[in-house]
Symmetry: C2
Subunit: 369 residues, 2 copies
């Protein structure tokens, strides 16, 4: 099987990305990914394993599999789960020739990837994302990590996977709301790098929700290409990669205020609307571009307003905890056109926004309908 | 100030190594190492900070320093200490522009380096080793990690330091036994890569124990060069780097049996004697080379026999837990001549040893005097 694409990080790493329907259960693909010797350290969650454990088992036939199952949900991205997995691997004799396979959504991918990054100072991981957001976003780029009580993703490592296997068949059991979560990141990719992707989504929404595997394969492949392109050019997030935070500074603030009881996709959708308004003021984004983005989000069924009653000041304060803050000043990843990767001449892709412009944008998304 | 040498890991990283007397307190050197902005996250132990905290404070004058002090001793290389340091950094607002400074021996260097490796997915670390073994060995090469109940260094990361600052003045307070510990690794370096280093040590032992800073500067610089050369050629321990385990397979087995109540340097000294005997059988090491090594170890005051009453079988079994075991077969890093980096044609630098040869070598070091 030929990879849909191969990501490269300089001379340091290369990650083939396989995309297709039913490929999870294909032993020939797994033989390409890692040698028959060595043991598989599978990490998954209790929800995913019930649906897809058997298919993966077919793909990994004749290999020795050691399985760690964590509870589904963000709470599993914890120090405690990492310790449990590590100790289980040690007790099971997983050695340096072991391979981690992360079968699940973003939580499993981040947790398992981070365990692999630090186990015996690093063993390979194969990412097998099972949610749309993991397929198009979190499994791509090598970021791994866990949450701690003070915040999300604060402890982690860059650990590029040995391979990424995206089987779009598994989206058949993904709830529609989770599909929408992933589509928020898809819209973000279109906004920052490929306006025609926005048309593709708008034109194919019924097929996407019907889980048409051809359309999903194209959708996923296009999105991975966009993210891979950005990541390859800027692995360590110094410059270009910042644009991937479009919509996310406001989104993170809203999630923080909501105690994370707000879907990430919903937060990103609302955040993109707010940051489009900022971009109109600061970077000359045309108003009809903002409008087109909002309309698509509504068409998908994503929110463009936050009705949780947060005051503007609270959102501004919460933004201050973002990792992109420099010398106390929040920076926003803003676009100047749909599909544009054009840095601001002075600030690049992380731009300060005057207080009144930030307030006006937040008033837009926080207003009662 | 000019680095004594600069280590390079392909195009990925470069680490300047500064060696001298009194350089710890030199603000001009610290200005070379990292910019004045950003905060210093200092990690040290309660023993070292009492001796050298003030000198480092002079070097870091006008910088904001956040300090984490762990108890001196191997027990601090723990998950619990890592959590404590991370939470302290978060609570203190250490951001991505923060710098970790590891002031201490191997324990502090490994622990602080690993904390830095995973904090916000990685912040830079400057290693300031204060023991001879840390100066010539553990601070060089980017290995970081912690111990877990099942074993030492099982969780960790490769995190090459931003710089290494070796101030030989600090050896003045290092106990003689700790100096001997470091000299065991020095002898190892001579044995694997530079026989003339063995003469240098033999000729300058009184000056070394008198803490002559010129001699110590030369000693440390030569050793760092050897290790750096090996590491640069083989960062990920695939081949050449294995030779750094000379003496260590037996040493680790003895340490395990002794519940780590055996100095690492002593274990390495005894381990080198045993593995020299294996090398005579398996790799044709001349007997007079073994003799020369043993004599030097005795001259230094390091043991060449283990009188703890361990049976040969126990040591053989304990060797099985070594990370170098492949398909159940222990491999030893053996030399074929003093100062030689010549791989075995079939096995490279990690060579299996027939049971009778391994037993004969262990009987030599385990016999009652």
């Amino acid at each position: 099987m030929i990879p849909a694409l191969t990501m490269k990080g300089g001379s340091q790493w290369r990650t083939p990305v396989y995309v297709g329907a039913g490929i999870l259960a294909d032993p020939a693909l797994w033989d390409l990914v890692f040698p028959v010797g060595g043991r598989v350290a599978l990490v998954t969650d209790d929800n995913v394993v019930a649906h897809y454990g058997d298919r993966l088992g077919s793909g990994l036939a004749n290999r020795s599999i050691n399985q760690s199952v964590v509870p589904a949900g963000e709470a599993s991205k914890s120090r405690q789960q990492k310790v449990g997995i590590e100790d289980h691997w040690i007790d099971s004799g997983i050695g340096r020739d072991g391979y981690c396979v992360a079968l699940g959504g973003g939580v499993v991918g981040d947790l398992a990837g981070f365990c692999a990054a630090t186990y015996l100072r690093g063993i390979p991981v194969v990412q097998v994302p099972t949610s749309l957001v993991a397929m198009v976003d979190s499994s791509i780029g090598g970021k791994t990590g866990i949450d701690i009580p003070s915040g999300k993703n604060l402890i982690g490592a860059f650990h590029p996977p040995r391979a990424i296997i995206v089987d779009v068949d598994v989206l058949s059991t993904l709830p529609d709301d989770e599909l929408r979560n992933g589509l928020a990141e898809v819209v973000k990719h279109g906004a920052i790098a490929d306006a025609s992707l926005l048309d593709f989504v708008a034109d194919n929404l019924p097929a996407i929700f019907a889980r048409d595997t051809d359309i999903l394969t194209e959708l996923v492949t296009r999105n991975i290409s966009i993210k891979a392109n950005v990541v390859e050019q800027d692995e360590k997030e110094g410059g270009l990669r910042q644009i991937l935070n479009f919509g996310h500074t406001v989104a993170h603030a809203l999630e923080l205020l909501a105690n994370y009881d707000l879907a990430h996709g919903a937060a990103v959708a609302i955040g993109m609307v707010a940051e489009c308004r900022m971009a109109e003021t600061v970077r000359g984004l045309p108003a009809d571009a903002s409008q087109r983005l909002s309309s698509l989000l509504e068409q998908i069924g994503l929110p463009t307003r936050c009705d949780l009653g947060f005051p503007v000041d609270a959102v501004l304060n919460a933004s201050q905890t973002d990792k992109k803050v420099r010398q106390g000043q929040v920076r926003y990843a803003l676009i100047n056109r749909l599909g544009g990767l054009d840095p601001d001449p002075q600030f690049g892709f992380a731009v300060p926004v005057p207080d009144d412009a930030a307030r006006a944008a937040l008033e837009l998304i926080l207003q009662n309908p």
